[in-house]
């Protein structure tokens, strides 16, 4: 056990302090994702990449900073931005999910073309996985892609496609081998959202904003070379992406950041001349949540050590998406309870308007439920924890149901 930073890491920490002191005024407001980044955010992102505080381990050839992977460095960087409450750079589906996937299994040409603009925030991606008939059972996806004259011709429908209304590109899970068993008949394509035949219909969510969409495909032509790995390997690629999505959703830094915000608010706001933190029932809930966040923070350090040793964390990794998203919801629950009736006025018609404190908490509170469902719902996570983490037997398959592709 040694939590001291090495000389190299202390030096990095000092550099970060200096960087933040010098440039923090140029940073966009922390938070405020889920919309196309504005010019200020893009400038900030470019500055971060230049200094190696974003896309640090992405090779220089692809527009990154080109540092050797050192997970402690990444943690030091993340921590510096959390502690300072400064925008840590973009984290979207392209950066957090597609880029690592291309680095792992993309072709050289795909990496050359897409990684650079994605990490700079110039190209926004959406994830075309879920369909009306294929949510938790993602491998049941039916959107078809047929290879004809050097192009895949895509027909079908995706749903819950976050950001599709402003995304430039999509990574798509579709069925190219309809005669193969369901998991083996899928492929993973990347395509421009400007391709003719794509229609995006926004779906308003419970937050009041239209954060996700229905996406329809009618004879959409995708060049054959836009497949990632081979035909029939889409399930494998999709799972690489999902692993990164779940790690992002299970990141304990988000919890720590939430806890800071919440604690600060309870210490600042008063009701009837009394600070909220002085009200025993609110304070006690805060203390309980603090204990839980501490546990996940320590757990995050343990995962970090696993990573830097190249050890697969197994069960320790599998629990993070479920654990962290549930706790996130309870943190925002306390915030909205503390705000009470004064926090109820709520106007969010537009995605680009930043809310006041109460509205922001309510948006988070709604969105937290979305994150409990998205990326594999809690029930699905618990299946995975039970079956892959604890080696419990799978549910027996029912005979005669959903025959055909199963």
């Amino acid at each position: 056990m040694d939590l001291r930073l090495s000389e190299k890491h202390s030096a990095l920490q000092a550099d970060l302090q200096a960087f933040i002191t010098r440039y923090a005024a140029e940073a966009p407001k922390a938070g405020g994702g889920r919309k196309r980044p504005d010019a200020r955010t893009l400038d900030w992102q470019k500055r971060l990449v230049e200094h190696g505080y974003a896309a640090r381990t992405v090779p220089r050839a692809y527009g990154g900073f080109g540092a050797e992977l050192d997970v402690v460095e990444l943690a030091v960087i993340a921590d510096a931005f959390v502690q300072a409450g400064v925008h840590p750079g973009l984290s979207n589906q392209g950066i957090s999910m597609l880029v690592p996937t291309l680095l792992e299994v993309g072709t050289e040409a795909q990496r050359q073309e897409w990684i650079g603009p994605t990490i700079r925030g110039d190209v926004i991606w959406c994830q075309g996985y879920s369909e009306p008939g294929a949510g938790s059972d993602l491998a049941a996806a039916q959107t078809r892609a047929e290879l004809k004259d050097g192009h895949f011709i895509v027909n079908g429908q995706k749903i819950w496609t976050s950001s599709a209304h402003y995304a430039d590109m999509m990574f798509l899970l579709c069925r190219t081998e309809p005669d193969r068993p369901k998991h083996q008949g899928l492929s993973y394509l990347i395509l421009s959202m400007k391709t003719p035949g794509i229609e995006v219909r926004p779906l308003r969510t419970m937050t009041g904003r239209a954060e996700f969409n229905e996406t329809f495909f009618t004879d959409v032509k995708v060049p054959a070379e836009n497949i990632v790995m081979g035909r029939g390997q889409g399930w494998h690629v999709a799972n690489i992406t999902l692993k990164h999505e779940r790690l992002m959703l299970g990141d304990s830094n988000r919890l720590t950041q939430r806890l800071h915000k919440l604690t600060e608010m309870l210490q600042r706001l008063e009701v009837g001349g009394e600070k909220l933190i002085a009200i025993p029932s609110l304070r006690d809930r805060l203390l309980q949540l603090q204990g839980e966040v501490f546990a996940w923070r320590a757990h995050g350090l343990r995962l970090l050590t696993d990573q830097s040793r190249g050890v697969d964390s197994g069960l320790r990794r599998l629990i993070t998406k479920y654990g962290a998203t549930m706790l996130c919801f309870r943190l925002s629950s306390l915030a909205v309870d503390a705000l009470g009736t004064a926090g109820l006025p709520y106007e969010v018609e537009s995605e680009t308007v930043e809310g006041d404190e109460a509205t922001t908490w309510h948006v988070d509170h709604f969105y937290d439920i979305g994150l409990i469902i998205g990326g594999g719902s809690s029930n699905i996570q618990k299946n995975i924890i039970g079956e892959r983490g604890l080696d419990l037997p799978r549910e027996p398959k029912m005979i005669g149901v959903a025959a055909g592709r199963n």
Binding site: M1, L3, A278, A295, H299, I319, G389, L390, E395
Partner: protein, 364 residues
């Protein structure tokens, strides 16, 4: 940066677990636990050989000179096997009290005996932990009088360590005139609590100490961390047994672990419990090396692990069905171990109160 037990710490925990599983199979556990004194001479001597009692005693006094993290790794093994052995109070808290408050002469007088397994110190901290029950002790010169309930590791003590309301600590012989120890079997037959009654008993103050209150608080903190570690070990055993049972017990023509209700219950236990282990390590490491965070983490770990322990204990028992509720299966030893740890040295509510005071959210 490395967040893990060291190879030595892991190996020590494993050898301790191995030894205890070997020496304390369920039938032996029943036999050792029945008297309820929390002490078994044979087991104690074996653990002396393994070096358990001198873990925190400096090498110059015959111990291993290790820290609270090592003690936490050991406690996880003790909780995991529901070991019938005094530890959190007698081995960790008493040793730390001597190290932090004792004079050099007192250290030289007691620490070698602790390491050699000849001295076992019951600890009465009741007045500082928020435990229920009487906690009145007063000192006239060197004569101790009063009554302290809920003393830990006092089933077969050679000495007693008692804290006074003013934050000083005093030590007496358990067999001194004017000392009476009534040890009670508790719900957890592996560890008792004792009522201590003093009537002008000869006592020595630890150190001359003005360092009293803060040093004593740090001793309490270490005790809380070690009890939390014990709970993590006990809860892990309960989870492991539930998972094993779920793979083997069949109903409706399939093993129960294939039912989502059971599978998800196991997943919930794992999701709650696994981060607690890292939390205990961090809290224990803070005791050794991060003074600024030590107190807050000690309070929080005791509170949070206490809550998780209770949930895991309930769910695991439930997964076992009627078997879980029997004495025959013996699962209840771990359930009760966890229940004891939850209350001892202050339950979650009291610990969170202390955490609030520590952060200046309320005035003590």
């Amino acid at each position: 940066m490395e967040f893990d037990l060291s190879e030595d710490q892991r190996l020590f925990g494993e050898s301790l677990s191995g030894f205890l599983q070997d020496r304390q199979p369920l039938e032996a556990l029943r036999r050792m636990a029945e008297p309820g004194s929390g002490f078994d001479a044979g087991l104690w001597d074996g653990l002396t050989e393994l070096g358990l009692h001198g873990l925190l005693v400096p090498e110059q006094f015959g111990g291993a000179g290790l820290g609270v993290l090592d003690a936490a790794a050991a406690a996880e093994a003790l909780g995991g096997t529901a070991a019938v052995v005094p530890f959190a109070a007698s081995t960790v808290m008493a040793t730390l009290a001597l190290l932090r408050l004792g004079s050099p002469a007192q250290q030289a007088a007691y620490l070698p005996g602790i390491a050699a397994g000849e001295i076992r110190i019951g600890v009465g901290f009741a007045g500082r932990t928020g435990q229920t029950g009487p906690a009145e002790a007063r000192l006239d010169g060197t004569r101790l009088s009063g009554r302290i309930s809920g003393a830990l590791d006092a089933g077969a003590p050679t000495h007693l360590l008692v804290c006074l309301p003013d934050g000083r600590a005093v030590l007496t012989g358990a067999a001194e005139a004017g000392v009476s120890v009534s040890s009670h079997r508790t719900i957890d037959r592996t560890r008792p609590v004792a009522d201590l009654v003093f009537d002008g008993a000869a006592a020595e103050i630890l150190g001359s100490s003005n360092r009293g209150p803060a040093a004593l608080a740090s001793v309490l903190d270490a005790g809380r961390v070690v009890l939390a570690a014990d709970t993590v070990g006990a809860a892990q055993t309960m989870l492991d047994r539930a998972v094993a049972y779920a793979k083997e017990r069949a109903q409706f023509g399939r093993v129960i672990g294939s039912f989502q209700g059971v599978k998800h219950a196991c997943a919930d236990m794992a999701t709650m419990l696994e981060p607690c282990r890292a939390m205990v390590w961090y809290a224990a490491h803070a005791q050794d090396s991060i003074p600024a965070e030590a107190r807050l983490w000690a309070c929080q770990v005791k509170a949070h692990v206490g809550d998780v322990g209770r949930e895991v204990a309930r769910i695991s028992t439930e997964v076992h069905g009627g078997m879980g509720f029997t004495d025959l299966l013996g699962l209840h030893y771990w359930f009760k171990r966890i229940a004891f740890n939850r209350q001892a040295l202050g339950g979650p509510e009291r610990c969170r109160h202390d955490a609030a005071v520590e952060q200046g959210w309320i005035v003590a």
